[in-house]
């Protein structure tokens, strides 16, 4: 199994390399793996045009994580509050639908103009990317909390606030955690797109610079670095998930995907 997996990766990269060497595809437009590897090596030893590579990664990661955390926190709070309050949710429903229908990345220019080229504009974009995903999951989770459990808590003497913290939030937790996987990816998109649109640092800027100089290997190199970052984050989130929902049968989620 493992051998087949590795074999597939080698075949794909080898085929790419070979095709570009034999002139089947033009390396100017499609790059080649050895060029990408060389580019990553050069960046990590000599730094990028924007400064050391680790610093670009750190900047993007920082924007992503801050945006992710703020977006998740806001999403959970808003989802639970609206999930518990039918009147409020019905008043706000059309506005939420309207806001949700806006493709989030088009808000990027707005944030760049109002918050500047620095970190806040990227964080803001990451927040709006994450917020709705988490919000809808928290909302649904709060709505679907089992009536029996709520009744039981009330019988046992729970106040409305205790019903929220002791029944609604834990019920919604599996929904919320499921949304964290997607939303971290969205946070990364928000940060990188924000950097495309205007920034002084970050992997998005590295990609934009490589694109402007027709450095395809540079674009691919950034993509590989981003993918590695996303995979590590995914592993961290899965670990957190298994800790938080160990009460659930088969809490060890299959991570083969």
């Amino acid at each position: 199994m493992q051998a087949l997996r590795v074999g597939l990766g080698v075949a794909l990269l080898g085929g790419w390399e070979l095709a570009s060497r034999l002139g089947v595809i033009d390396p100017f437009f499609w790059g080649r793996p050895s060029g990408v590897a060389e580019r990553i090596y050069i960046w990590s030893t000599q730094g990028t045009a924007q400064g050391p590579l680790w610093q670009q990664v750190a900047v993007t990661l920082e924007e992503t994580v801050i945006g992710f955390l703020i977006g998740v926190a806001l999403g959970i709070v808003a989802g639970i509050v609206l999930g518990r309050n039918r009147l409020l949710s019905e008043i706000l429903a059309p506005y939420i639908k309207a806001l949700n229908s806006i493709p989030r990345v088009v808000l990027g220019p707005l944030f760049i103009v109002s918050l500047g080229l620095g970190m806040p504009s990227k964080v803001a974009l990451a927040v709006v990317m994450v917020f709705f995903v988490v919000f809808f999951n928290a909302f649904q989770g709060a709505r679907e909390a089992e009536r029996n459990l709520i009744a039981n808590a009330r019988i046992l003497g729970a106040s409305p606030r205790q019903v929220t913290t002791e029944v609604i939030v834990p019920s919604a937790m599996s929904w919320i955690i499921a949304s964290l996987h997607t939303s971290f990816g969205f946070a990364l998109v928000g940060a990188v797109v924000g950097e495309f649109l205007g920034s002084t640092q970050g992997l998005g800027l590295v990609i934009a610079t490589a694109q402007n100089t027709f450095n395809v290997n540079g674009v691919f190199a950034s993509i590989f670095i981003l993918a590695a970052v996303a995979l590590v984050a995914e592993a961290v989130i899965t670990a957190i998930e298994n800790r938080l929902i160990r009460w659930r049968p088969n809490a060890l989620v299959d991570v083969a995907i």
Partner: protein, 274 residues
Amino acid sequence: MKGGAADGRPPVIRLSGVTKNFRTPSGDAYTALRDVNMEVRAGEFCAIVGPTGCGKSTTLALVSGLEPVSEGDIDVLGSANPKPGARVGYVFQSDAVFPWKSVLDNVAAGPRYRGARDAEAKARARDWVERVGLRGFERYYPHQLSGGMRKRVALAQSLITEPEILLMDEPFSALDVQTRSLMEDELLAIWSSTSASVLFVTHDLEEAIALADRVFVFSAGPGTIKGNYVVDLPRPRNVSEIRFEPRFARIYQEIWSDLRDEVLVSYERAKRAH
């Protein structure tokens, strides 16, 4: 030992002329209970039997205060407007223990909601976990337990709040026969050590007679009380043996003749609905 009938003691639950209407999702009114009159006295173990959909569970919801009555008067422990979370316990038909809490935390939930300190709540919970025979399972989560064990958790969770009235909605219907009579015996043993009144809903007439001092027969929906029978079998009882007593069979026959008609009515209705 408790007497068969608790005559002379004050009633803890009284329903007079109680009707309960629900609104269905399509907007129609649906009458679950019509003009129900019943009384449960302090320390009495009462059972409600009746066909499916006769409003048995609705009665418990009204007594617990989870649902308000539509018409008529209700009096639960001197309150005309019962609120959940007071002195009434409720063991639900389906699992209502919190799946994300360990056995110990589940049992400690009631005292904690009522303001007990964590250490105190846990100490009391440990005691109750032991009393329902789950010692050694304090750290388990509900999904790791069998159905019977989860019922024990539910029972301990409810009894730790020392309810004066314990409502039970077909609590053992999902259990296999052996586990079930074991749990029934244990329920009787635990109940005899408290002074709680019990209102026990079941569709199983044998279970009702084996456990209760008094059996209410509900008619097919809208539910109303068709009969009220005193079960004067001696206590303490062993539920698997008491079924062979001649007096048990006589009481069973008497109640069944009443119940059979209602079950038939309900069955015919269900057939027509298809």
